[in-house]
Symmetry: C2
C-alpha cells in the first residue's frame, strides 16, 4: 500500500529542524546549512540536486538514495516553497530550485493563498492546496498512483501529520550541531502515545540516522 513517508529530515542535537531567521539568504535559517552536511557529499544529492557525478557511497548515501525511492508525490509546507508572504504573492516566484526542481513528480504545497499550478521542467508540477493537510494528502495519494507520498517538511507540517497519526515511517538524520532556537520537532508531541517507536539506528560521523515507524 502507498505509504506516507518522511525521509532525510534533519534535526540538530537540540531538536530543531531549521535554524532561526529563515530568509532568502538562509532558506534553512541561520546555522541550518551546517545541519545538512551529511547529505551534501552523497551521490544522490549530487545527482538529484546538483546534476553532478560522483559522491559518497556510504551509509549517508544509502539513506539519501532511499529518500527518493518509490516516491510518487510530495507534500510541502508553505515555508518550504517560499520564504515570505511577499514571495507568495509574486507569481514570478517558482520555488528555491530553479527551472528543473529535484522532485520530478507532482508536489502539493500547503498554503492559504490560491495560486494556479506551475508546470516546471523535468516532471515537477507545483499544486497549491488551500484545503488543509487532509486535502493535500488525498490529492497527493491520487497523483502518486500507488507509489508513496513524501512530506518534505517543514517542522510544522510534519507535526500536523504526526498528530493525525498519518505518517507511516519517518527517517530522521540527527546532526552533531546545536542550533539553540528554531522549530522543535518533538516538543509537546507524545510520539509513543501516537503509536510511534524508533525501529532502526545507524550512525556516521556526520549524522545519526533513525527510522521511526507507527506500530
Amino acid at each position: 500500500m502507498s505509504k506516507l513517508r518522511i525521509n532525510a529530515f534533519t534535526l540538530s542535537l537540540d531538536g530543531y529542524g531549521a535554524g532561526p531567521d529563515q530568509d532568502l539568504q538562509n532558506p534553512l535559517g541561520v546555522g541550518g546549512q551546517s545541519l545538512h552536511k551529511w547529505v551534501f557529499g552523497t551521490r544522490t544529492f549530487r545527482k538529484m540536486v546538483l546534476g553532478q557525478d560522483g559522491g559518497t557511497t556510504d551509509t549517508n548515501e544509502t539513506f539519501a538514495a532511499r529518500s527518493f525511492e518509490n516516491i510518487g508525490a510530495w507534500i510541502l509546507g508553505r515555508n518550504m516553497f517560499a520564504p515570505t508572504r511577499g514571495k507568495w504573492l509574486d507569481d514570478s516566484w517558482k520555488g528555491w530550485w530553479g527551472d528543473n526542481p529535484p522532485y520530478h513528480v507532482p508536489v502539493f504545497v500547503l498554503t492559504h493563498h490560491e495560486r494556479a499550478p506551475i508546470i516546471m521542467e523535468g516532471g515537477t508540477t507545483f499544486y497549491f492546496v488551500t484545503g488543509g493537510i487532509h486535502s493535500a494528502l488525498e490529492q497527493a495519494r491520487a497523483a502518486a498512483n500507488g507509489k508513496d507520498v513524501r512530506v518534505g517538511g517543514g517542522v510544522a507540517t510534519i507535526r500536523q501529520y504526526l498528530e493525525e497519526r498519518l505518517i507511516d515511517e519517518m527517517h530522521l538524520a540527527i546532526s552533531p550541531v546545536l542550533l539553540g532556537t528554531g522549530e522543535s520537532l518533538f516538543a509537546g508531541l507524545d510520539m509513543p502515545k501516537l503509536g510511534y517507536q524508533c525501529t532502526e539506528q545507524v550512525a556516521t560521523e556526520l549524522a545519526t540516522h533513525v527510522m521511526i515507524e507507527r506500530a
Copy 2:
C-alpha cells in the same frame, strides 16, 4: 584546572533525560530504563555499579570509563537522591544505591531540606546543600581537591548550571528511544548563545555519543 563536567547523561531522541512518572519503582521514569541500555553492558558499569567482572570494551565502554576518570566530587539534584518529599524527610533513606554507592567521593545533593551528612561505605559521603547551585559548586570544588566535579543530573540541575555557563564539558548519549514526555534538556535553552558547541560525535548501535564544550 578543575572542570565542571557532565558525563554519560542519556537523552531520548525526543530530548528527554528521564521518562514521566518517576517513582520508587521507576527511578528513571516510565521507559527511562530503556534509555540506558548502552551503559548496562559496559565493563565500567558492571564493575562500578554492579561490582561484577566482564563487560564490553567498545566505544560505549570508552565513554563509560571516561565518565569516572578524575572525578573528585559529584553534584546531584534532589530527584537523583530521593523520589519523593516523604523520602526526603525520612532519615532512613540513604539514596538508591545501597550501602556502598558507586561514587567513592563526596557527593553534594541540592535540596531545600537541611539534613546531616551521611557517611557511606567506600568513600562516598552525601552532603546536603540548601544554598543553591553556586554554593554546591564551591563546596564540591573544595572537596574535589583539584580534580573535576561531575554534575550527575537531573535535567533541571544540569539546565541551571548550563544557564550560568558553568559547565565546561558535557558528554551526552542519545539513545534510539522515544519517551514522549518528561523533562526536556534543551527546550528554551539557547546553547550556542550560551557559548556551547558540539565538538565530537561517535556512535554505536545503542547510542550516539556527543561531546559539547564551552568555547
